[in-house]
Symmetry: C2
Subunit: 405 residues, 2 copies
C-alpha cells in the first residue's frame, strides 16, 4: 500500500539524487571559495537590455501574443535570427531547421526520448556532461565509450550494442570547451566522427553550449557545418546541433535551440506539443529583442571577463600544483579538468577541501558513465575574480601536497 516503487516505471530506478549535488548544495556559505558551479557570472548578465525588452513587449501591440499560447516550434523572428547566426558558422539552414526548446538541456532530453528504447546504446565520451547522462538515463540506455582516435572498429560498437540488447542510436559530444574537460575536438576528430556515424547509420548530437565562448586559438567549424559541407544540404545530414542562450545571455529564461535536418525538427515539434506545448512565449520574444540589439557585444564582454579568469586559473595551477598533477588548457568555456595522481580520490579530497581549506570543486567520477575517473576533478573559473582564483587554487594545491606527503 502506497509502496510507490512498485508502480513506478522501470526507468525511475535510474533517477537518483546525486550525493555530490547534495553536498554542493551546502556551498552557498560565503566563507567557502567554490569552483564547483558551472553557472554564468550574474554580474555579466545584460540586465538593462532585458529590462528594455520586457518593457517594450508590454508597451507595444505584442503584449497579448506574449502572454498567449504559441506554436510548438518556437517564435518565428527568433528562429529566423538564428538561421542568420547559424549561417555565419557554416550551417546553412532555414527556419524549418530551427526549433526552440526550454534550454538546451531540454533538447538533450527530447533527443534521448526520440532515439532511445530501453537497452539501446548511446556513445558518449569518458568523461562527458553529467546532465546529458541524466537526461538519457530516463530512457534506459546502455553507454559505450566513444573513441575519437585509436583503432576501434564500427563493428565493435555494433557488437557491444547488440550484446546489450539494442542498437547504437547516436553519438553525443560537446566538441568545444566541453563540460567538464574544457577540451576541444580538432577538425580531423570531427571528420572521423562523421565517418563513424555514416558507417553506423546513427545520429550525432552536437552539444554546442559553450561554442561561442572561444577566447583564443582558431575556431573549428561545428560538426554540423562540416557535414553540410560534405553532403551539400542540412536536410541530408545526421548531426543534431543543440545551442543555448544560457551562457551568453541568461539561463533564467530557459531558452535554447536545436538545429537539424527538417525531418528531425518535425518529430521534435510533435514531441514538444505533447510534452509542454511550447517554450515561454514572452521569454522567446525577450531573447529575440536582446539578440537583435547587440548579441555580439554581449558575447565579447563575457569572453573578455572569462578569458582573464581562465588565465588566472592556469597561472595559479602552474604556481601551486605539485608536479604529479595535470590539467587541461582550454581555449574557451568555463572549465578546467584536473587529473590527480593515480590512487587519489576526488570525492574524498572534496570532503577534506571543504572542511579544512574552505575550497570546493566537483569530483570527476560522476561524469564517467562507467564509474571510472575517481582521480579527476572539475574546476570552473566563470564566477570568481582573479584574486579569489589565486587564493582558492593555492589552498587546493596545499591540500594536495599534504595528501601526497
Amino acid at each position: 500500500m502506497l509502496n510507490w516503487e512498485d508502480i513506478f516505471a522501470t526507468r525511475s530506478s535510474r533517477m537518483k539524487a546525486s550525493e555530490i549535488r547534495e553536498l554542493l548544495k551546502l556551498l552557498d556559505r560565503p566563507d567557502i571559495i567554490s569552483f564547483a558551479g558551472g553557472i554564468p557570472d550574474p554580474a555579466l548578465f545584460p540586465d538593462e537590455e532585458f529590462k528594455a525588452a520586457y518593457a517594450d513587449i508590454f508597451s507595444g501591440s505584442a503584449v497579448n501574443a506574449a502572454l498567449q499560447y504559441s506554436v510548438s516550434e518556437g517564435y518565428k523572428p527568433l528562429r529566423e535570427w538564428l538561421t542568420g547566426e547559424m549561417g555565419k558558422l557554416g550551417i546553412t539552414c532555414s527556419a524549418d531547421n530551427v526549433f526552440i526548446v526550454s534550454g538546451s538541456q531540454q533538447g538533450l532530453d527530447y533527443l534521448g526520448k526520440l532515439f532511445l528504447s530501453p537497452g539501446d546504446t548511446a556513445l558518449v565520451t569518458w568523461p562527458t556532461y553529467l546532465g546529458a547522462l541524466q537526461a538519457f538515463n530516463a530512457y534506459e540506455p546502455n553507454y559505450d565509450k566513444l573513441a575519437l582516435s585509436g583503432n576501434r572498429t564500427p563493428e565493435s560498437y555494433r557488437k557491444t550494442a547488440q550484446e546489450a540488447g539494442g542498437k547504437v542510436k547516436f553519438a553525443y559530444l560537446s566538441a568545444d570547451f566541453a563540460n567538464p574537460t574544457g577540451e576541444t575536438v580538432d577538425r580531423a576528430g570531427r571528420e572521423r566522427l562523421i565517418d563513424l556515424a555514416d558507417e553506423l547509420d546513427i545520429a550525432i548530437i552536437e552539444d554546442a553550449a559553450y561554442q561561442s565562448l572561444r577566447f583564443d586559438g582558431e575556431a573549428i567549424p561545428p560538426i554540423l557545418a562540416l557535414e553540410i559541407a560534405r553532403k551539400g544540404d542540412i536536410n541530408a545530414t545526421r548531426t543534431i546541433y543543440c545551442g543555448s542562450f544560457s551562457k551568453t545571455l541568461a539561463p533564467g529564461l530557459r531558452i535554447g535551440y536545436v538545429v537539424a535536418n527538417a525531418d528531425i525538427i518535425r518529430k521534435l515539434v510533435l514531441m514538444k506539443q505533447a510534452a509542454d506545448l511550447h517554450s515561454s512565449t514572452i521569454n522567446q520574444m525577450a531573447i529575440a529583442h536582446v539578440t537583435e540589439r547587440g548579441f555580439d557585444a554581449q558575447v565579447k564582454k563575457i569572453k573578455a571577463a572569462y578569458s582573464k579568469r581562465r588565465d588566472a586559473m592556469l597561472a595559479a595551477l602552474a604556481k601551486y600544483m605539485p608536479e604529479s598533477v595535470r590539467w587541461t588548457k582550454p581555449e574557451g568555456g568555463m572549465f578546467i579538468w584536473v587529473t590527480l595522481p593515480e590512487g587519489m580520490d576526488g570525492a574524498t579530497l572534496l570532503a577534506k577541501a571543504i572542511e579544512t581549506k574552505k575550497v570546493a570543486f566537483v569530483p570527476g567520477k560522476a561524469f564517467h558513465a562507467d564509474g571510472s575517473g575517481a582521480n579527476t576533478l572539475r574546476i570552473s573559473f566563470s564566477c570568481a575574480d582573479e584574486k579569489t582564483i589565486d587564493e582558492g587554487i593555492s589552498r587546493l594545491g596545499a591540500l594536495i601536497r599534504e595528501e601526497l606527503a
Copy 2:
C-alpha cells in the same frame, strides 16, 4: 541511410501529427467563427499587472536571481503562496508538497514518464483531454476505460491490464468542467474513485486546469482534498493534483504546478533536474508577483465574462439545434460537448461547416482513446462575444438540420 524511422525509439511511432490540428491551423481566417480553440481570451489577460511585475523585478535587487539558474522544485515564494491557496480548497500541505512545472501539460508528461513502462495501463474517461493522451502516448501505455458508475470490478481492470502486458498504474481525469465535455464529477463519484484507486493500489492524476473557473452551483472538494480528509495527511495520499495558471492568468509564461505526497514530489524534482533543470525563473517570479497582488479579482473578472458566454451558448443551442442533438450544461470552464444523432460524423461535419457555413469546432473522436465518439463535437465559448456565439451556433444548427433533412 538516413532512414530515421529505423533508429527512432519505438515510442516515436505513437507521435503523429493530428489531421484535425492541421485543419484547424487554417482557422486564423477572420471570416470564420471558430469555437474550436481551447484558449483563454487575451482581452482578459492581466497585462497591466504583468507589466508591473516585470518592471518591479528589473528595478529591484532580484534581477540577478531572476535571470540565473534556480532550483528544480520551483520558486519558494510561489510554492508558499500555493500552499495557502491549496489550504482554502481543503488541501492542507507544505511547500514540500508543491512543485512548479512549465505548464500543467508538463506535469502530465512527467507523470506519464514516472509511472508508465511500455504496456502498462492508464485508466482514462471516454472522452478525455486529448493533450493527456498525447503526453502519455510517449510512454507506450495501453488505455482502459475508467467507469465512475456501473458495476465494473477492480479485478476486471487488473485482468485487462495483465492481458495488455503490464499493470494498471493510474487513473487520470479532470473532475471539474473537463476538457472536452464541460462535465463535473460529483462528490460520490470522487469518493468511489478513491475507493477504486485504493483497491487497485494505483495513483490518481487529478487534472484541475479548470477548477477555479466555477460560475455557479456548489463547489465540490478536489479529489485530493477528499483523500486528505479520509487519510489525515497529504503524505498518506495517492492523488496527484495538477494545477495551471494558463486559464486564470496567462498561458504564455508556461507556469503550472503539481501538488502531491512529498515522495512523488521528490521524484518529479529529480526528473525535472534531468529534463529541463527548472521552469523559467523570471516567469515564476512574475506569476508570484501577480498572484500576491490580486489573484482573486482576476479570477472573478474572467468568470464573469465566461459565464455570460456560456449562457449565450446554451441559449443559442436551445434556440437553433434540432431535437435529436444533445449537449452538456457546464457549471464552469470553457467547453460544451455536443452529441449528434448516431451515424452523423463530426469530422465530415467540420469540413462542411468550414466550407459552407464559415463556422468551426473540434470533432470529438480524437478525445477517445479507442477511436469511438465519431458523432460528438466540442465547442468552446471562451473566445467569442455573445452576438458572435449566437450567429455561429445558428449557422451550425442550420447545417445540422440540412444534414438531417
